[in-house]
Symmetry: C2
Subunit: 342 residues, 2 copies
């Protein structure tokens, strides 16, 4: 195993004392980067995901141009349902589009738990190629959606403000929902294990839509499957769990074996530290829209954010993915403000 | 002033001891009712709002068919920006559509604070007609959007998952945003005062998009304007504030002079009582999607909900508006489960 030149991110994940917190940004390899937009014009979404050379180029791009302390593999959470035999398209102006949503026990029966090497080997190839390209400069993060969040898309068939069809399916056909969630969980565990074996230094689970559920329903339809993933992975790799809008579950999450927890901007550092007991590393929580503020304001607010979380057991990040309309110099100002923290 | 035959809702708002909690449902006069859908086919959205006979018929419909303990005037929060000179359409399949969104200090300058009788007299007429039709059976609630929520639509120009344009406007042009928010606040205060004078028994402020903001930004861009409204109204009428996703502001809200606070389903009764200090009446918080559960499950969960909040200083409601795809007998089962509570 080679030594990383910048291991600040892994140190923070282990709770070690650091000179300044590490920083990266969710969706840092994304649409706010002009060079990414050029690739987007030439190659469609899944071509970018499936071509290791392109995934590598996109993953490394923000490391060179913005300078965060960790890379996150360019991919998408929807490669999982796709590998499970559920058709997934990316429609211009619509986003994810699943023409045959899973809305019955029969449809759940047809969903497969695939062989990872066969169906998702292109992700593993991209990891190996990216590790070489990164040349041990910074660690590489792999990720997956939470089973609940994947179910949301599989049942709803597209993005949604409130995923009412997905929730309605769970509440009217809970048995079918649990079967689907277990299949997604089994696939995700095998997928993340393969990613770790291929070389990622940490994994993050995105529960983007966990905050749509009540605390009781969150336990039943989301958390217990995430816990299975943590249990299966935690001895192989640090696991970060980010549940958007899931402040109500932070206490339980802090006792799960996760290495760190993501926090969105609606939960203050103080509340997040209080709810998680003060010891587990936290990651977040700059409002992505706040990157539209003038740069001096961004610098001021980054300082306040780090002071509030404390410099240790903390990974500076946004509270959700970076937005397409953020000026590159604002993104860079965010990362540099963390690097200049003292 | 006439006596209401059923004043359970007003008693709960005053914190008095009741035999069982009152119940109503946000959007109870809405698209899950087949008779509403028939009117919707015949009359477009703003015709329904602007014709007192139609607004009255729609407002009274759920009282007759579902049996809640309070009526809420059929109208829309977007009648306010419309009255302020901002064009508002309802587009099929899109929802609210504002063809000329307010995105500059110049555009804010052109927004007017209108005379209420002149621009919104039709709402006041609808209140008077509805009060007659209700014949003092149950109280009538009037409502308005929070200034922040109205700004969201005025700037974004349509509904959105995250109102990034609206937030970006506030963060890049805070002075213009505050001018717009103050104009909306002044209009809303005059509007709600006129509604109380016309006969509503309580008013509710819907801060539907407050939960998009960080706690600090919530204070600056939403709460301080809601506080102005409460200060201006509280001696004339009970004021209920419902901020969706605003659990982080509940403590401050509880000290604001509001008569009651709405709670969504992501904040448990226990957390809500803790955060608000235990004395202020709370309203909520059944997950609207949970009305898709089988009726025995709805009955069970309503019992748990009331037990958790406690029967006093509590108004049973959903945690957000009822969904169009809820079967009428499920909505009725929800209301009856509250009525049968013991």
């Amino acid at each position: 195993m080679s030594m990383l030149k910048n291991d600040l991110f892994l140190k923070a994940l282990r709770g070690e004392t650091v000179e300044r917190p590490p920083v990266w940004m969710m969706r840092q390899a994304g649409r706010y980067l002009p060079d990414f937009m050029k690739l987007k014009e030439k190659y469609d979404f899944f071509t970018r995901c499936r071509t290791p050379e392109l995934a590598t180029e996109i993953t490394v791009m923000p490391i060179d141009q913005i300078g965060p302390d960790a890379a996150i593999l360019f991919s998408d959470i929807l490669v999982i349902p796709q590998a499970m035999g559920i058709e997934v398209e990316m429609k211009n102006g619509v986003g994810p589009w699943l023409p045959n949503p899973v809305r019955s026990i029969e449809a759940v029966g047809q969903v497969t738990v695939p062989d990872i090497d066969e169906s998702l080997g292109y992700v593993l190839d991209a990891i190996k190629m990216t590790k070489q390209a990164l040349n041990d400069e910074v660690p590489l993060i792999g990720f997956a959606g939470s089973p609940w969040t994947i179910l949301c898309y599989a049942v709803e068939g597209q993005g949604s403000k409130s995923f009412d069809k997905a929730k309605g399916f769970c509440f009217s056909e809970p048995q079918a929902a649990h079967q689907l969630l277990q299949k997604i969980t089994d696939t995700t565990i095998a997928y993340l294990k393969a990613k770790v074996k291929a070389g990622v230094n940490a994994v993050q689970i995105f529960d983007s839509w966990g905050g749509m559920l009540s605390p009781v329903d969150y336990q039943e339809f989301s958390w217990k499957y995430i816990q299975q993933i943590i249990d299966a992975l935690k001895d192989l790799s640090p696991v970060i769990v980010f549940g958007k809008g899931c402040w109500f579950a932070l206490q339980e999450m802090s006792q799960s074996g996760a290495a760190a927890l993501g926090v969105d901007w609606t939960c203050s550092a103080r509340n997040a530290r209080y709810l998680t007991g003060g010891n587990i590393p936290l990651q977040g929580n700059f409002d992505p829209s706040r990157l539209l503020s003038p740069i001096p304001e961004i610098q001021k607010q980054v300082k306040i954010m780090i002071d509030s979380f404390g410099k240790d057991r903390y990974i500076a990040n946004l509270g959700h993915g970076i937005l397409p309309n953020i000026p590159v110099d604002h993104a860079k100002a965010f990362v540099e403000a963390v690097k200049n923290y003292h």
